[in-house]
Amino acid sequence: MILDKVDDEAAFRGALREWLAEIMQADEARLPPKNAKQFNTNQLWWMAERNKVGLGTPHWPKEYGGSDLSLRGQVIIAEEVTRARAPSLGQFTISLNHIPATLMKWGTEEQKKKYLPPVSQGTIWCQGFSEPNAGSDLASVRTRAVRDGDHYVVNGQKIWSSYSMYAKHCILLTRTDPDAPKHKGISFFLMDMDTPGVEVRPLRQANGLDKFGEIFLTDVRIPVENMVGPENEGWAVAQTTLSSERGINSFERHERVRYLMEDFYAASLQSDAAWLKDTAMQREFMQLFAEVQGCRRLMRKLLRATIEKSPIAAQVTPHVKMINTDLRAQVGDFLTRASGPEAQGIVAGFDELSTDPMFTYLTALGGRIAGGSNEIMRNIIAERILQMPKG
């Protein structure tokens, strides 16, 4: 097993590389997905393959099927996966991070046993938090849950639920006490997506992907035992969900930017691309490449701080969020310009391995908005880090 070697970094890397070299020969790895359906299939394949070698949920506690893998070990996996140009596990972000973080702290023993083990078998969860009028201001959720015997009856609408069209379960934030102050009347549920009254409508993004769904809930009956944490205290549960450690995901995403640039440069050399003769474009490339490298260093620093539970982690996080999302967009824009008119044609690709510069660019724009918009990051830097007074 690869994970047996985790204490010897060189051996661990060696085993990962060997496995990756083999798996990357598979058709699924060589032929990137051409549409949303293929992406979904591809993700399930990738999770299955990782699971075969114990890399499905390695960072989980042993009792729930994980290997208690340290963050350091996770970093090595991310480094090797990206170096191999292997896919991400993007479709499983909620399943792998938000679900365990939430259930470990707030779940009943039954909930943990029932819901955690299937994740490594490919169960997809989605998150039903945001609503059309509750985005950054999440505590404004209006989706209503009313107790009716041993069920709650839920009505409302959720938005920005990634991969909800493929999800089997949903973590759902609802209002159970409309008269309480807004943070005090919220309850948190686990919802089966097959329950009658749940309708998912895909929400197309600027990059052409249907990654998000809108979830419409009409008289959806959720059993009482599916509540997580006490009634009306769902806000605290949601805070746990949202603060689940997933720095490793941004780390992995940013590692890919390095390879994207190096691969683009190599391909440009190969094709003797015109931009290589343009001094200004070369300077711009170098500046971006240097900033990407600086950011890779910052992200390592952030992960080290997280490992060491250092308070500087909180200080660095919002800067890193801004820097890496801005850089991805700038790199995408650069690649688009450097590729000239040909880049206007859709090559597409439906995952992070796409070589379509416009796809890269458009996808990157989402990063500045998602996960706390960069405007929110600026507020945090000014108010929490620099102690500037609220307006």
Partner: protein, 371 residues
């Protein structure tokens, strides 16, 4: 004064264009077209023919309205503002180019057809690159990506004939020209690749001195730059409206100072590029020797500006700015496509720099202005 008359004509026309577009290109209709759900490009084209828009810049002898560069500027700002689809950029640019570069009998044949809506063009996205060889057997080969559509009737193709550069005006017949559309990110426009096999040009325009290339670039640049400033102004104002509609944490988004300052900055950039385009259009209308320099700069600047403005408007819309349903992505994709039309911003600035150096070396100024 004739300039005042022109201005009055333009004002009157402008209102007509805006109200027609407001109806025909209402945002939902454009979105449906973007997704392949209607034929807005064709209905709009018919309307444009009926209202005389297709001849707005052409001389009256070819059934045009004779409004030249100022007329085209006005029309394309409006089309850009409403995300209007269709072959306006290639066709109207090619028509102006013909009027200046081709023999009168060619113009007489084609231009009234353009005005009537019966002749549409496919033109090189970037004029002056990769010519085809024109030989006795006709025109064969594949030119680089062309702006145009499956229904284009005529192509303008860069050629070399006996070692001399020029352009062929080629009627598009199924037998000698096959078209493969390129699926592009900006679905309001059409582009694709032609393969010619022994096509017979209607006429050939000589380009020994590069004047024909410069002329085609100029009109493409004008149309595109105007589309850019029109689009950038529109999406900025739509973003202001959106911010006014939405609130968060109990406050109108439009009341947040950081967003207000950004919006003010965007509008200022738009106004700056509108003024630069005014400069280019005026110098073109006045046939000043520096007209091409200004047009190259206006297009480069407007293209970069529109892309930057549209990108920031995505961000200012938050989550919905990133969806297919809102307008932001269409403006952004038009902006990125526009950036490539005529030539990249870098190439255009390099051309302008050479033109500037030439005037400066000769001791002339390119910056004279009347009050």
């Amino acid at each position: 004064m004739s300039e005042d008359t022109l201005e009055e004509d333009l004002m009157a026309l402008s209102e007509g264009i805006d109200s027609a577009l407001a109806e025909m290109c209402e945002a939902r209709i454009v979105h449906t077209y973007f997704d392949g759900g209607n034929e807005l490009d064709e209905t709009l084209w018919q309307c444009a023919a009926e209202l005389g828009w297709l001849g707005i810049g052409l001389p009256e002898e070819y059934d045009g309205l004779g409004l030249g560069a100022p007329g085209l500027d006005l029309l394309f700002r409006a089309l850009g503002s409403f995300m209007a689809p269709g072959a306006f950029i290639p066709t109207l640019s090619a028509a102006q180019w013909l009027a200046e570069s081709a023999a009168p009998e060619v113009c007489q044949t084609l231009l009234p057809e353009v005005v009537a809506g019966a002749c549409t063009f496919a033109v090189p996205l970037v004029p002056g690159t990769a010519p085809l060889q024109l030989e006795g057997s006709g025109l064969s080969g594949r030119p680089p990506l062309m702006l145009g559509s499956r229904s284009a009737t005529t192509a303008i193709v860069a050629i070399e004939q006996a070692g001399k550069p020029g352009y062929a005006i080629v009627p598009l017949a199924a037998a000698t020209a096959s078209f493969t559309p390129t699926e592009i990110w900006d679905s309001t426009r059409m582009a694709g690749k032609y393969e010619f096999s022994g096509a017979s040009p209607l006429a050939v325009v000589d380009d020994a001195d590069g004047a024909a290339t410069a002329c085609l670039r100029r009109w493409l640049a004008l149309a595109t730059a105007a589309d850019c400033v029109g689009g950038a102004r529109a999406i900025t104002f739509k973003t202001v409206d959106y911010l006014k509609e939405r609130s968060q944490f109990g406050r109108s988004l439009a009341s947040l100072q950081a967003l207000k300052h950004r919006i003010a900055g965007l509008l200022t950039r738009v106004i700056q590029d509108e003024a630069l385009l005014d400069q280019a259009v005026a110098s073109l209308a006045g046939s000043e020797p520096s007209a091409d320099m200004w047009m190259n700069m206006a297009k480069a600047s407007a293209g970069d500006m529109f892309a930057a403005v549209a990108e920031d408007c995505v961000q200012l819309h938050g989550g919905v700015g990133f969806t297919w349903e809102f307008d932001c992505h269409i403006y952004l994709k038009r902006a990125l496509f526009n950036r490539e039309i005529a030539a990249s911003s870098s190439v255009l600035r390099d051309l302008a720099a050479s033109q500037f150096a030439l005037s400066a070396r000769s001791g002339a100024s390119t910056a004279e202005l009347a009050l």
